[in-house]
């Protein structure tokens, strides 16, 4: 341990630490710019220079680099240091007068205008990009070239680099934003940004990210498919920043076995992807978006903070098309139930934001069935929003028109639009079949989970103890989902509140006097509920099959397999069935 003083405050830190680290450990802040916790210090910006008194010898050094020494007295904010820092900022501002980030920095230091000759640069040569590329990404695409005033940061031979992975790490650390512009100068490869799933691909996300603001638990996850550490064993920057040391790269997916009494399946739905329906031009024109994308666009916490923009400008002619991916005789035949009302809501929001815009909605039947829905629909209609009716079989086509599109709907004049919002329907989750097999529950013809009875048992499945809630069962709006979920919860409580659980009465029973312990039933039982046991019978020792009644689910397979008719399925004994057969056969 090394003892030193910073601004008169005694501090004891580990040998090898820098003054900056020591200062931070006792809450003394020193301004930095080219410092990055995960990178080797470089000392380019000189903002973190401090005054160091070493045995009466006054020195000025960058605190990000200078190692702590026994007995040194550090002053972080002397007049001389502050004056120098201000000049450093002035010099940076003179170099990059147009950089907004440098302007912000200057403001923090109280520098309004630089006194030095202004240049036209966008890079302050802090070297963060080169360092992260080399040290964390393990590539080394760029480094400094030349010296003095000619200094620049470039790939070798100032040409496109072959090793650049266009990962964008350089851009992510650039304090002036210069690197973002130059990414395409570094490599001929196309950048492949990681798009945020939650924001419908409208914003980027990091390889380590919190899926969405309300996620439970609100804990970041690492995308192993994109993380440089998992792909190439480099980086590990996040673990350096995590003060809680919570990042563990060796964590693996685990299977946790829980003893549970009931399951509520509330796995939700997928949104219909209209890419394949080429008539809508989705994926082809940037002007055509889905209802879900519109929701992210209009959200105040979304990627645009609520500004609706298409190709960088606010739309003036907006067309909504309903029933996309729903009520389609050749596809999803069902009605998705929510699209009519969300379209009405979205149109209402657009009208609110752009009072002068042209709003048109193509609909087939507006299904405003819920409480207050019809009233809302009437209100929206009164907001100068045009509802145009078209039959489901009528053709509709979205074609390009300059920077915008034209919507050609059968029986209606063409409408020029700069934004088309598709009211995409709800479809079963891609993995619902897999889940159905795992849980031993059924799917309806439309692919949603099947309830035990559409009228009488709408929350139950055929499997005892498994219940359905929400859109995994069928498209639902929020009130319906909440209602069904509450119901499922109460059904679960029903089970969990009982002291004893009734089991199937139709379990198998072995008539031990007939059993000859052939073991066929043991093999036939899918639940390992039957085993052969040794018993004393009439003074003889003999083996018989015995059913574990708690394990038996009552399928009767053993009864069918028994060679001697020794096993009976209660409620479905051979005699009972044969009696029915006899009755039916007599006609």
């Amino acid at each position: 341990m090394v003892k030193l003083s910073i601004n008169g405050q005694e501090v004891e830190v580990k040998e090898g630490q820098t003054i900056l680290e020591a200062a931070n450990s006792i809450g003394i802040e020193i301004p930095t710019l080219c410092y990055h916790k995960a990178l080797s210090p470089y000392g380019a910006c000189r903002l973190c220079v401090v005054e160091i008194n070493h045995n009466g010898n006054i020195m000025y050094h960058t605190s990000c680099q200078f190692p702590v020494m026994e007995g040194i007295e550090v002053q972080t904010n002397t007049e001389r240091v502050l004056k120098g820092r201000k000049i450093m900022v002035e010099l940076m501002l003179a170099r990059c007068p147009e950089s907004e980030k440098i302007q912000e920095l200057a403001e923090q230091f109280g520098v309004k205008e630089t006194r030095f000759k202004k240049k036209d640069e966008d890079c302050i040569l802090c070297g963060l990009c080169a360092r992260i590329c080399q040290e964390r990404m393990g590539v080394g695409t760029i480094d400094f070239i030349n010296r003095g005033i000619e200094r620049d940061i470039k790939p070798p031979f100032e040409t496109h680099s072959e090793i650049c992975r266009v990962c964008g790490a350089c851009a992510s650390v650039c304090p002036t934003g210069a690197r973002t512009l130059e990414l395409k100068e570094l490599s001929l490869r196309e950048p492949n940004p990681i798009l945020s799933e939650f924001n419908e691909g409208l914003a980027k996300r990091h390889p380590i990210y919190i899926p969405f603001p309300q996620s439970v638990p609100k804990i970041p996850v690492i995308d192993r498919e994109k993380c440089i550490h998992f792909l190439l064993d480099e980086c590990e920057t996040c673990s350096i920043f995590c003060e809680a040391e919570a990042i563990k790269y060796d964590q693996e997916d685990e299977i946790i076995e829980l003893d549970i009494g009931a399951i509520v399946v509330a796995s939700g739905f997928d949104s219909f992807d209209p890419t394949a329906e080429t008539k809508y031009g989705y994926g082809e024109f940037p002007n055509v978006i889905t209802g879900m994308e519109f929701e992210r666009l209009v959200s105040a916490s979304g990627p645009t903070e609520g500004h609706i923009e298409v190709n960088g400008k606010e739309p003036t002619n907006i067309v909504f098309i309903q029933c996309v991916g729903s009520r389609d005789k050749d596809g999803n035949e069902y009605c998705s139930r929510v699209c009519c009302m969300y379209t009405a809501k979205q149109a209402h929001m657009v009208r609110d934001k752009f009072p002068d815009s042209e709003l048109t909605i193509y609909f087939t039947d507006v299904r405003a069935f819920g409480k207050g829905f019809e009233e809302f629909y009437n209100r929206v209609q009164g907001e100068n929003i045009i509802y145009l009716r078209r039959e489901l079989d009528d053709t509709i086509q979205v074609v390009q028109n300059g920077n915008g599109v034209v919507v050609k709907a059968e029986g209606h004049p063409d409408i020029e639009a700069d934004l088309v919002v598709l009211a995409t329907g709800l479809i079963p989750r891609e993995d619902s079949k897999e889940l159905a097999q795992t849980l031993n529950i059924n799917l309806s013809a439309d692919g949603f989970f099947l309830e035990a009875h559409p009228k009488l048992r709408p929350v139950d499945t055929f499997t005892d103890g498994i219940f359905l809630a929400g859109s995994c069962q069928s498209p639902k709006d929020i009130p319906d989902t909440v209602a069904q979920a509450s119901s499922a919860a109460s059904r679960v409580c029903n089970i969990l509140s009982q002291k004893e659980l009734e089991i199937e009465a139709t379990i198998a029973y072995v008539d031990e006097t007939l059993c000859r312990a052939c073991g066929f039933c043991v093999d036939a039982c899918p639940y390992q509920a039957i085993e052969l046991v040794r018993i004393q019978y009439l003074g003889h020792t003999t083996d018989v099959a015995r059913v574990n009644e708690a394990l038996c689910k009552g399928c009767g397979t053993c009864a069918a397999a028994c060679l001697n008719g020794a096993i009976r399925q209660l409620g479905y004994t051979d005699g009972q069935i044969l009696t029915i057969i006899k009755a039916f056969g007599e006609n």
């Binding site: 059924n442 013809a445 559409p454 499997t463 399928c555 069918a560 397999a561 057969i581 056969g585």
Partner: protein, 138 residues
């Protein structure tokens, strides 16, 4: 003369086919009334004896319907039924009984339509095969 109306006994598993038949009913789907349904918990419960007995007792056809493969409520009962019925059909042929009088189908709980279709088809087929006669005529 009245048209021959075959008498069908159907063994339906509780979880898929019986529910499918129930759905056909609640959905008001029309299908022939020739079938009389015996509910079992699983198609794996069905012993060949039941089928033979049905034919013997006067059924013109026997329909066994279970879950689709992989969807059996009891994991594997429908596989066992499938094996037994295939063997039985070979045996029926030797006995001089048209194996087509026994039909094994998969109908899931959501397939009310399919259940109706299966019954309709089976009735049509049995009409072509004609009535069964296992009694030894004096």
């Amino acid at each position: 003369m009245d048209e021959f109306e075959p008498n069908i006994i159907g063994f339906l598993c509780n979880w898929c086919s019986y529910a499918g038949a129930d759905l056909a009913g609640t959905s008001r789907i029309q299908y022939p009334t020739n079938i009389k349904i015996i509910r079992v918990m699983c198609s794996g419960r069905i012993e060949p004896v039941f089928i033979l007995e049905s034919l013997k007792k006067g059924a013109d056809g026997v329909l066994i319907s279970g879950c689709h493969f992989g969807e059996c409520h009891y994991k594997s009962g429908n596989y066992k039924a499938n094996r037994r019925i295939k063997l039985l059909k070979k045996y029926l042929k030797e006995m001089g009984v048209d194996p087509n009088r026994v039909r094994f189908e998969f109908v899931s709980a959501s397939e009310g339509h399919r259940f109706a279709d299966v019954v309709r088809e089976f009735v049509e087929e049995l009409k072509k095969i004609g009535p069964i006669s296992l009694q030894i005529t004096p």
